[in-house]
Amino acid sequence: MVLFLLFFALPIGYAGYLSLRKVEIKGLGLGHGARQEVWAGLANYTDALTDSELLDGALRVLGYGAIVVPVMLGLALVLALLLDTDRIRLASFSRLAIFLPYAIPGVVAALLWGFLYLPAVSPFAYLLEGVGLSQPDLLDGAPLYGALANIAVWGGTGFNMIVIYTSLRAIPVEVYEAARLDGCTPLQIALRIKIPMVAPSLVLTFFFSIIATLQVFAEPTTLKPLTNSVSTTWSPLMKVYQDAFVKGDIHAAAAEAVLIAAATLLLSFGFLRLANSRTKQGASQ
């Protein structure tokens, strides 16, 4: 309880307190006493909610998430199912190989991919030129979302695959035997038995993915210096960073952070509830 208060409630409470304050400046704002911290009420929140940069950032992140989450989880599920079949060779090697990118820090991954995306230095561009094609600028317009999503998918698929794979291994073998005796093909086993049985871990990975998506920061921040297309407030967390550490306005940043946390909670727990009620319905049928 003490730990909870000290390391959880206290920082959140402090952020909440900061978000209700603001600095007021008089005249030129130079010299002693020109700055005063005063109560701001909900002004920081109304500012944040009407800030087009923050809202645009949220929309961008939703678009990015719409690519990342389905692609990453779809891939993870397919790979886990493939690894779970008896016929796969080098199973433990493949498992490790797919998981490995997860062990690479996001910043490093973004840098690696950034180099591959820049046509002037990318080995792919070199190869494409060999066959008379040119690499499109992947850090611009719509391809940028794909480029960013690709980094997240590359890094995150392995982790989600392991989660799904682990729960696949937990399914008793008798279930499969019974299915086979009933004449199920491997594909039918996968679709009718395995996927429904691992639904809870799919829900779980979806839950984590939503949270990670809303908090995307490292990848766009790392790619920003490489292109004019990523603005300093590309994602909501980048906006918080800008306000707190570049503008030095911790009060606005605190309000935005609280809003992002609230939105994350709402989205992720909303999804959990939805998923839970669906499974309960499924169980009662």
């Binding site: 030129l28 820049l118 292109t227």
Partner: protein
């Protein structure tokens, strides 16, 4: 659910690392505390210039030993976050005695009541610096908030061999510069004279400064923001026009792609500052000895001026219990010939003090420019023409808006007029929102 916390840990690691560095900053100044002036004095100095600890050692063993003032340098990361770190530390009354601060950060620091007015101790140093440089540490007032350390007078760098190959003349005016860019495009369509990069606001600020822009001025107790003044608009339209015309590139600087463009001669010029040799050494190692430096092209050929890109100062904080001692060190560091020679040698900086801009470590041209033996003599002559700059309390907002708005405009090749208006509007709106008096 152990992977739950693990996953969150990874996702948040960037944010935690950032927060952690600020906290560490608050704590680290503790050991800088010293007793009253009766005994020996210990000063803490936050700075990012490399090798500064060695220069401080010179002080500790020389003049500092006599006066019993010991300076300890704590290495910091440069850039915008250091300003926030210092402001945060000052709020907790834990700021170090001395800080390295960029010129454009001074109003922000003064506005947060971080910097002490050291005019009593340091006004005598005024004569050692070009007026345009000194004016930036006084903010145009009677106070002195810092001692200039290094400056970045701007110059034009070009590939001497390729200029000859394509029959180009080194541009003396910006009109000639535009003509040169067009001529090059005609002769070698796959090459560019240079690029307009939106990822370093200091470049644009310096170019505007050269044209005579005054971005922040005061009228009574109100700030007047002149980011979209005639001079800046001229500069923005000039570069926006070149980008829209497709005669120069629009990709950002300091990327691997940009390095390659310089190294392979795809870009044959660079508008930069006196520190360019260092950047070129790493960005374009294969073209060593093929570059030459010339004064920045001029708007009015008869009135040569240059802007300043980069450069920093040494400032004393209000939290320091030994302001006089700190000011004495700051003055020694930036005006004493021995200290300046060591700064040029150990930290590789270009001193702001006029007397130190030639001779000593700067007697010989940088290795990369061995083909131009009078590099630093010419640089010193250019530095004398540095135009004054006018910084305000929210340079960070203007700079961020520049990166976003000009970045987008450069990408779209749509001219820079709207981006400049956005920069002005956002800067004014931010001042107003914070309660500053704003004149219109």
């Amino acid at each position: 659910m152990s992977y739950a916390s693990y996953r969150r840990f990874l996702a948040m690691s960037a944010a935690v690392a950032l927060g952690g560095s600020v906290l560490a900053g608050c704590g680290s100044s503790d050991d800088g505390d010293a007793g009253a002036r009766s005994g020996p004095v210990e000063l803490t100095y936050w700075a990012w210039a490399p090798g500064l600890d060695k220069v401080a050692d010179l002080w500790n063993k020389g003049p500092g030993k006599k006066e019993q003032i010991t300076v300890t340098v704590k290495k910091q990361a440069s850039g915008d976050d250091l300003v926030t770190k210092i402001v945060t530390a000052a709020k907790a009354k834990q700021a170090p005695d001395l800080v390295q601060a960029e010129y454009q950060a001074l109003p922000t620091l003064v506005s947060n009541d971080v910097l002490a007015d050291i005019s009593d101790e340091a006004d005598g140093a005024r004569g050692a610096f070009a007026p345009g440089v000194w004016q930036q540490v006084t903010l145009g007032s009677d106070a002195v908030y810092a001692i200039p350390q290094d400056s970045g007078p701007m110059m034009f760098y070009y590939r001497e061999d390729l200029f000859e190959k394509y029959g180009l003349k080194v541009p003396a005016t910006w009109d000639e510069f535009a003509e040169t860019a067009r001529a090059l495009k005609k002769k070698a369509p796959d090459k560019d004279l240079t690029t307009f990069s939106a990822n370093d606001s200091g470049l644009f600020a310096g170019l505007a400064q050269q044209a005579g822009a005054r971005w922040w001025t005061t009228e009574g107790d109100k700030w007047k923001v002149g980011i979209d003044d005639a001079a800046t608009r001229k500069v923005a339209d000039f570069w926006g026009g070149l980008v829209a015309e497709d005669v120069i590139d629009n990709q950002p600087m300091y990327t691997p792609a940009w390095n390659k463009a310089l190294n392979t001669g795809q870009q044959i010029g660079w508008v930069s500052a006196v520190w360019a040799p260092g950047t070129l050494t790493t960005a374009a190692p294969d073209t060593k000895g093929k570059w030459a430096m010339a004064p920045l092209p001029q708007w009015t050929a008869s009135k040569p001026a240059t802007g300043s890109w980069g450069g920093s100062t040494t400032a004393v904080t209000n939290d320091s219990e030994h302001k006089a001692a700190a000011a004495a060190f700051a003055t020694w560091l930036n005006t004493d010939p021995k200290a300046l020679a060591a700064l040029a040698e150990e930290s590789g900086i270009y001193p702001a003090a006029t007397a130190a801009q030639t001779g000593g470590a700067l007697a010989e041209a940088p290795d990369y420019f061995s083909n131009q033996p009078d590099f630093y003599t010419e640089a010193a002559a250019i530095a004398k023409t540095t135009a004054p700059a006018a910084w305000g309390p929210n340079v960070n907002v203007a700079y961020t808006t520049f990166k976003d708005a000009f970045g987008r405009a450069a990408k779209n090749k749509s001219g820079f007029g709207a981006a400049l208006t956005a920069m002005q509007d956002k800067t004014v709106a931010d001042l107003k929102k914070n309660g500053f008096g704003v004149a219109r």
